[in-house]
Amino acid sequence: MHSNALKNSMKKTIKTCLLCWAVGLSLPLFAQEPPNTDAVTRKNSKEDDFYRMVTLPVPEGILLEVGGVATLPDGRIALATRRGDVWTVENPYMANGQQPRFTLFASGLHEALGAAYRDNALYVAQRGELTKLSDTNGDGIADDYETVYAWPLSGHYHEYSFGPKFAPDGGMFVTGNVAFGDEEWWRGESRVPWRGWTMKIFPDGRMEPWATGMRSPCGLGIVDGEFFYSDNQGDWMGSGGIFHVKKGSFTGHPAGLRWTNLPNSPLKLTTEQLYASVDPRQTRNADGRYIKPENADEKTPNLLFNAQEKFPEIQTPAVWLPHGVLGISTSEILVDQTKGGFGPFAGQLFVGDQGQSKISRISLEKVKGEYQGVAFDFRSGFQSGVLRMNWGYDGSLFVGETNRGWGSAGTKTSGLERLVWTGKMPMEMKTVRAMPDGFEIEFTRPVNRKLAEDLDSYTGRTYLYKYHPVYGSPTVNEEKMPFKGVKVSADNLKVRLVVADLRQHYLHEINVDGIRSEEGMAVLHPTAYYTLNNIPDGQKLSAAETVTKRPVQNSMVPKGKTPAKATTSATAKTAANAVAKAPTFDEVKGLLSKHTCLACHNAEKRQVGPAYKDVAKRNYSNEKIVQLIYNPQPQNWPDYPAPMAPMPQVPKADALKIAAWINSLK
């Protein structure tokens, strides 16, 4: 009784605080919390404490394989589905204690993968056209299915079309997937005009080919009135990322270049010009059959920004989303327009991921006229693949889900969830900004100054992905990122890190595991992935301004954390004995997560890739498994939707240890 009463009173306090936040008052939250202890840290380190998922009840018999989410001005939402239906949902917020009500607004569409509302009509992209759906007789059901613009298709299964997103001028952006070859089934190809392209379509039926280089452009977004899209790893796409797509730009996949000779093409770069400089590796074996290109171990791998120097049409990602870490099949791009209703990230971007069933967060900045920025993990654990997102009127986020045929970490095949900010302030890196000599990290809560001034609280590395015709890419040209100095702002909210050598175009990964808030909260997602397309000019910090020493001992480094160096040598030692004695899961868990294996695999059950238990059944030798990590053979696993990307960056000792563990699962 007594303890319950206490809990209740605490609940009340929290509720009150929630209200404070909701009305935008800035109060010293948690000021009365007990001093930092591990217990408090752990308690506060769950995503669920800050962003809560509400699964919407869906009437039996309705299959919500969501392909599009639109918010209507009257508070309803509209959901377009892969089954070709459009449902309007009354009261998706479940106000008045009432369940949402579903109305079939339209049906019979060809795999609708997008929805946008404008002027009393819903616009949806079907496989072969952009359609305007209107209710002309006022019964709440569409009776006019008007073709705004139809584009050609070859009829290949992979020719999905996505969108639309409205540009400020009323034009609508629609993107189209490539098909794949018949013999070269691994090679994306554009069989008819505008596959692998972005089109801009106006309500009067005009179509402007906008840009090409797209492979699987599922995610569309408008940021600052500019068009952005997300692609995921595949042939020519080393990893997922988001691209700023200017008119006439080329984002890397060559298939669509086939149509740059058409009169209305905004770019003139030809396939031949590109292939003269980048080898498409279309070679045949003795029988005249094409050989599937595999990852090669080049000394100087080809990179997209290298090609950009020759072909200025090339647009590199504004932000890379490291494959397997921040997703494997990126989807919707959505700007936080809630002005704080969704928490401290107003103006930032959220990017969904189908395969990993999660959402990443991106903060953009413009340096030397180009977008770049930082990506973080944000929220995982959705019930199915996150395909579409849109804002509700209360600042909550509707998440439309499907995974049929594609596979996802979330095990349900489809559904609709709503992500609601609890009002609590998470301890996060709010943003990371590029500086002439390093980075500035801004936190959501003041940091413990002593830890923040300790250079051992930070680790970092830099790397990039290849630009080649192979499916996916390992991380390449990896280097450690040594921090030379740190300066903490007076309000303890910002930290400037001085980096010895910034590498333009590269991904800079910064880990702040050692940082705590003033109250002792660990950073919920302690890794930042900054894509440094340009290094800003300006004043560098002088040595006098920064702290450059590393304290000999720091009692506040959390227990169980050993310095990176020690881990490496321990791994090497263990690896020598790996074959003799199979390691336990606990012993390999760290490796599996470090090398992003767990992004797609689980020990016991099928996820995006096969269960390790099923790999063990194949009776591969440990050596063979290592080979397969470096050069996967997706044809060995025909029942799985996504091929594995080669992972030669995994050190052999680690790979052997993982292999020994996998084989112990037999």
Partner: protein, 633 residues
Amino acid sequence: MKQQVRRRILIGIFSIGCLSVYCQNQPDFPLQTVPLNDLSQFKAQDGNWQVVGGVMMDRSVDAHHEEAKGKKPEKNKKMAVTSTPGTGILLNMNDEKRKSQLTTTWEHGDIDLEFEVMLPKGSNSGVYLQGRYEVQLLDSWGVKNPAYSDIGGIYRNWEKEPGKIYMGKAPTSNPAKAPGLWQTMRISFQAPRFDASGNKTANARFIYVELNGIRIHDNAEVPLPTGGPIENNEKPTGPIMIQGDHGPVAFRNIRYRTFAQDKVTLSDLRYDSYEGKFAKAGDVAAAKPVSSGKASALNWEAARREDAFAVRLNGTMHVPTDGAYLFSMNMSGGGALSVDGKKIISQDGNANSWDAKTGKADLKAGTHDFSVTYFKDVAWQTPALGLFVEGANLRRQPLHSMESFANDGNNSSPILIAVGGAPKLLRAFIDFKGDRSQRRTHTIGVGDPSGISYVYDLKTGGVVCVWRGGFVDATPMWNDRGDGSFRPLGNAQYMFTDQPLAVLGSTSASFPTEYKESEFRGRGYKLDASGRPVFRYTYNGMDVEDQLVPDEDSRVFTREVKISSAQKPANLYFKLAEGKDVVLMPDGSYAIDDKQMYVRMLSAAKPFIRDGNGRKELVVPVENNTVKYSIVW
């Protein structure tokens, strides 16, 4: 989304349907044709059966009017059936005196039989296998819930005594066509089995029956003779009997293949089992087995592991009769078959188990040495070894034991779309005439609650096909990733893929086959009050509306194309149909493509028949801004 390795596997699964035991086309063993130059294949009859060269049945005239009752037709009275002399068509014109059944001079047991049949309005006939098991023939055009008594039904008997009553079996759907059109039936029949003392050990069985390309029975046993048999008993063989006393009926292209009951058997089986990775059958022969011994059946069991193995099985094959035999082998991995030391099948390297490898051998009746080699170095597939044999008079039979080759095909749950109380619309790709290379990409299926459906091509303003029965099978689109296509759930009557409305430079100019964005723009469709779509497009500045509605008791579609444009260009034509031929029928409609469907004009302009692409086209000039006609099938 992500690239799909699975694609190739899916294709494999979808094609299993046609590589499996029962539905393989057999050019190796063609069917025998019943020559219809005369009636020499049939026993004597009253004269109601005759051989003719052409037949025309007026679908508007009931077969049971006076003419059929032996009375002289009145002058100008419409005739249900007219014929022209010649050969190739078997026609029954019975009256009250002449109404024999028609019986073959030969008898059969197990048989595959196919034929084309034409019935006038209201007529009734039937084909009795072994003279005892009747598949009903009836003008069942448009019947919604077919019974045993409708076309394709296995007829009932009229016994009263419990235990002797058989109530027949209704076809699982009704793909019947309109009176006067040719319909195709395929029957695969297995005779009842008897022991040495003549006791029945297995019932007669329809392995399958297909009407107009649609399966209507699969694996249906018939425990007793159906009504009106040649004799009310069951025998190992009997003649084909065709009913001739219930109205006119015509047949052509009657073809069959009979089968003996003797099977190929194996004996004295021995195995050698090998471990390791093999790439060629020859390498296995040279290797040393890890174990050898007697085998109880032809299977891969002796391997005792899932991969990196080889097995060899040797023994004696007993062949029932002299002749050519076709062997086919299914394996995940590689292998070989030799008979009497001669290589019949050889598969080096990996094959997929659904991809049968075949070889033919001329064998004498009696015993032969045989050897089967199977090796597997393909970890991701489960072991599978199947061996089938087929002869001119031997139904394809497995020689392996059941567990050795699990031919489970595609067992994902089908996604069948039904039409409810309102019209059902669904967009998908459709493969024209089932041909993937003729895939249409901007097509929409429209299912009418009355049970008839069509597919409309939004890129040409053309009707792709019409059918009756269910709506569509969306499994190809919605199972797994899918390929974006659906299939009509019924016997689809395909039209053509050209753009039907066109300005032609001359009356012999072709209709456009390619979509020209500058000339033709689809505008989508509006739903009318009943929920039926009105399609809209612009062509050369003209706004066009196009709608199909059910007509004639919801058995046909009437289509009206309306041009709302002040100025109509000259030389505007509309293509109604195309086919091998176009024939003007007595009722003023046109029979298309060797009597596969009709077009019946409702607007005033007179169509004309012309040549186009080696076929005949039915074309009408557009007058009064309207083209209106019915599609009858």
